[in-house]
Assembly symmetry: C2
Amino acid sequence: MVVTDARGAATTLIGDFARRYPGEMAREVERLPDAAAARCLRSLNRPQIAAVLERLTPDTAARVLLRLPDDVARSVLMAIDPARAVSLLDWLDPSAHERYIGMLDPRTAGEIRALAAYPADSAGRLMDPRVTAVREDATAREALTRLRLGRQPAGGDIYVVDSEGRLIGAVTAHDVVAAALTETLGRLSKPRAGVLAVATRDEIMERLSGSAVAALPVVDVEGRLLGVIRGATLINVAQEAASADIQTMVGASRDERALSKVSFAVRRRLPWLHVNLATAFLAASVVGMFEETIARFTALAVLMPVVAGQSGNTGAQALAVTMRGLALREIRPRHWLRIAFKEGRVASINGLAVATTTTAGVWLWSQSPGLAMVIGLAMVLSMLAAGLAGAIIPIGLTVSGQDPAQASSIILTTVTDVVGFLSFLGLATLFAAML
Amino acid sequence: MVVTDARGAATTLIGDFARRYPGEMAREVERLPDAAAARCLRSLNRPQIAAVLERLTPDTAARVLLRLPDDVARSVLMAIDPARAVSLLDWLDPSAHERYIGMLDPRTAGEIRALAAYPADSAGRLMDPRVTAVREDATAREALTRLRLGRQPAGGDIYVVDSEGRLIGAVTAHDVVAAALTETLGRLSKPRAGVLAVATRDEIMERLSGSAVAALPVVDVEGRLLGVIRGATLINVAQEAASADIQTMVGASRDERALSKVSFAVRRRLPWLHVNLATAFLAASVVGMFEETIARFTALAVLMPVVAGQSGNTGAQALAVTMRGLALREIRPRHWLRIAFKEGRVASINGLAVATTTTAGVWLWSQSPGLAMVIGLAMVLSMLAAGLAGAIIPIGLTVSGQDPAQASSIILTTVTDVVGFLSFLGLATLFAAML
């Protein structure tokens, strides 16, 4: 039967592709509806399914898993990195979760339960407990045997522990191969500090900064080696940690995900919206001081958003660049004067340029040289203030021990609105005769 | 002399610390003024200086380098990873740059020049050209000899190439040790795709996503192996790429750094400020439509910033969470309906809550139930629109082939201002009799 042969050939081809490029395959599977994704995976053998499943986003992986036969799901869960298994099982409802864990062999089930006991987002949750370690009194010859029989060491590192299992350092397979066979590992090993299993993602990133290691050993409070966070996981953590600022700056929680529950999102965002409301009333009260001027010249009300918008965006640019510099540790709070000076100059130049365009536009529109002059002046002043505020707010938050991103955008908007309205309406009141 | 002894002891201690914890040492040095930093480093031996210098931020490293004696600078530049040397030398003015390159041995100078020829931020700039590679027809025995004599392979991977130097795959030291000595590497190697030397950071991150590798081989257009990007570099790249969105969303360039030149910052930011100016005039024209209403009720002008501020912040929260989900590939454009539905529900609930507070506050302040009702209604409407816009803008940018972050904040502000002013002033005009 030709059809069957063609199907057979297609299946072989898909299997070959999955074996060689599990990452690419995962990306394709990710695009399919769940039923089709499960069907596609079922045409593969179990190690191939495991390799692809491991590379899917956890929620897709969980939904696909539910559609696989139990015996396949069982062997896949036992084959993948236990940390991946934990994050995947986290997406299942509790009964399905328990059912799958019950199917596993006691060792894997124990590993998964142990990892799941660590707080979400801690080093303990991210580590692979199947770490290659040797005792410090072992010889290079013994380590070679270990290497020959054992699992692939993470990032090529073999960890060296003392008789109590405490982490002493690391050697690479290269070090072991290059050493004399009778050399002990204690002498070959280079010091390597572990990270605590309860360390948060931010603490992990702090530890990695300025370090040249590509895998991170995880220890308990006694210093005993518990596992290793592999390089690929560290890259994921780095991306997640580095992109979280975008959320905290507007008062959304670091922990919220695009598909988080509505109740979670509301609970975390609403308090900051109320803070923002209070500051908005502050800005409104500034406008309120000039109600009489506005009653006489309603054009001021029309142009208010232009001044506030420009200074808001100027401040947001300075804030973004400064905050990122702090996050990447390219600048430190002691650089505040240099940063403020740079941002002040950028804001002045941009302010003069934008003010020129605005003055010309307003002159044409209103035929009032006075109004054009007032808005131009207000713009330069408020953009300068915004640039300085954008530079200083994240540095100030850092110095006072806060996350430099925390609600920085809300604080900045308050500053730019207040300064924008004050300078524009204030100057208008001052030069009222000319309007 | 006790003082000298104490100094000697201190120097030994610092040297020991630098050897064991070069990353920590670099963090301490980073905090010192340049002269003190150079003095501190000069108390170390050259390999120690190299280890610390390699972990400093490039601009600090460059300034410290200028304060080291030429012979020390020379051996340090030859000892560090050439990709680091390139990024460090980039911070020097052209004459100092040429002088240092001229001091190096021809091989290192050639390597540095070759790397510097690649575009900034390309894979070629980031790679270490000193990569461990073996021919596919070599035996495991030959590979072991290579391992014994050669450099530390990146992430434990040894790359396998054909007779033309084209990348075929990778084996780990573990694979080589575990194999029969007569096995050829061609048979042991697992397929591994390289990234092109001209690939951008974003292309590198795209390649890494869903992959479990911790080091990335770099190839030319013929597929010939040129170098390897090490795990620690990949983590830096991941952080930089993931944090760049914060800048693009407000119209600052991805490439701007906190201490970039003023001219560079102005050139990249000013065009977007002008775009923002155009959209601000659009928002102003909406206000202009209601000038008569404002002339009658100046309280409207006072409260305008409150409505715009709340919808702006609500939209920014939805935008931040959605944008991050897209960047981390947790959601895809085809999820748009689910995302919009979630953000719509969050915005409605938050809108009702904030509107209740605002209505009560405005009622107390103005004693006008009509005004309180109008602002409450306007707030719910504009916050709902803002939440939906925040979800849909980054998805729309992605679908149309743009960077989901590019100026998203500027587009969002336009939408929230226009909708905010339109709903507030429109409802006020409609219910003018009740104000």
